[in-house]
Point group: C2
Chain length 283, copies 2
């Protein structure tokens, strides 16, 4: 796979409040195809009990997502950005944690030229911490018809006012209440099975898990990682240095440290970055 | 660059105590050439004041060299191993820290089929901690004519008995005394400039820095990283998980956190791994 190939000229496209329309070359998209959810979703939906899960993110060589929590750090180049938006176009939903939603005020839409629809943004927010306002980018885009309002997954024990619920519904979004538990550190968490069941329950048959660090590390931790169907990681040729937000699954206490391996691996240079595609090796 | 290309059959070669002779395809070697010391060393030696420095190592996706300090962890595949030995054949010296020397009992020789000589092993051992014995692999190989005995770089304040010095010299190795200092944590350290001056003083005009974690992180820390001429990193498609020996340069106190970027970057898939070649971007 040679993603170094010169891209054709960008097609003319309207400039949106969320930035320019992005273009991802067809030949590059074709190479990613084996790592993506099946195209004929109606067929797959009949048999699947949970959505197709793609884990995707971009790190530095030292596996950092950003220089520090809440610090947005541009790591990967423009081609990688276009790839991310292309990947969004191939999933029914995208998922981020509330930390990312608060820190980045992300658009969570799809700006790829070929996209015919936007993915649904799922925000994992057990304690209903996210103070979404009409100024939030994701709602600005929803109002402009350039994105979908988020589904916010909160704990079934969280209190969300009727006013908040109705307000979010006016944009097309909603609060989804998911069974929660308290982890050893006293944090309210979801089981990934419950999250994915709720995603499937909303009729969303594929989801791209994007970040941030806590979400990614949690999904990579055994036994959660068996829920991952595809891994697509972009690596940028930089070191962010110690103290960054690092992707590295925690080791499960009492179990012998063992590497988590990928299989069906392919590496695709993309500009200055490399894209790694693979599947979790089940052991 | 397509290092996936099928390798020609292995040439017949003698099996040595250090393991089989390794073969690295000529076409792959050619692609690494721009990242290696100049081939005509006599020419370059006249003008250079310090050796050509290549930093090379293999990590997991979460930038770990091993599961834990002192735990030898097989990360990369057989092609990457052959590449490492090929790279050794293209350097006058290779360098490891004493931690690696103690933990791994490494051979530190070159087993590539095309090699006509072995690199000199330099071991950074300020406190003269390494209890080298006749059973140590590096001396076994030296005795068998399949490697060179190491030059052990110790602090100019370290006490090494005349007996030890003479013993090591019998194998062709020696102790080299280098000016040292005590760092903030009370550890005896060398300045990299002094190490490289001593390497050059031994008539060694190129050196490949291989590990371990402390050595690599120290060399990547500004301003040391300006001494690096070439970076060759192998990345294996695994996560070792939190608690591994991580490559990630420490941040320099009082300075704004900034990524350390590579330039002249190329990525080369090699078996299941990827090899990244580049230079430190001087800023």
């Amino acid at each position: 796979m040679d993603l170094h190939a010169a891209s054709p000229a960008l097609p003319a496209g309207p400039t949106t409040p969320s930035g320019d329309v992005l273009y991802f070359p067809t030949e590059d998209a074709a190479r990613l195809e084996p790592h993506l959810p099946p195209l004929s979703s109606s067929q797959s939906q009949q048999t699947q009990t949970r959505p197709f899960v793609t884990l995707t993110f971009a790190t530095s060589l030292d596996s950092s997502l950003s220089l520090a929590p809440g610090v947005r750090t541009v790591l990967s180049g423009p081609q990688s950005k276009a790839m991310t938006h292309y990947l969004r176009s191939r999933h029914a939903a995208i998922l981020v944690g509330v930390g990312t939603a608060i820190a980045d005020d992300p658009g969570l839409n799809c700006r790829i030229s070929s996209a015919t629809s936007n993915p649904r943004a799922i925000v994992i927010d057990p304690l209903a911490r996210w103070s979404l306002t009409e100024e939030s980018k994701v709602l600005q885009l929803a109002k402009a018809g350039q994105g979908l309002a988020p589904f916010i997954f909160v704990s079934d024990a969280a209190e969300v006012s009727l006013e908040s619920k109705e307000w979010l519904q006016r944009f097309g979004g909603k609060y989804v209440f998911v069974k929660s538990f308290m982890d050893g550190g006293g944090s309210v968490r979801f089981h990934w099975e419950d999250v994915l069941a709720a995603v499937q329950g909303e009729g969303l048959d594929s989801i791209m898990v994007e970040g941030g660090g806590q979400i990614i590390n949690s999904l990579l931790t055994p036994p959660n990682n068996r829920l991952i169907d595809s891994v697509i990681v972009t690596i940028a040729p930089t070191w962010l240095g110690q103290g960054g937000v690092v992707v590295s699954p925690p080791r499960v206490e009492g179990e012998k440290a063992a590497p988590l391996r990928l299989t069906d691996v392919s590496w695709h240079p993309l500009g200055e970055d490399v894209v790694l595609c693979g599947k979790i090796l089940k052991i």
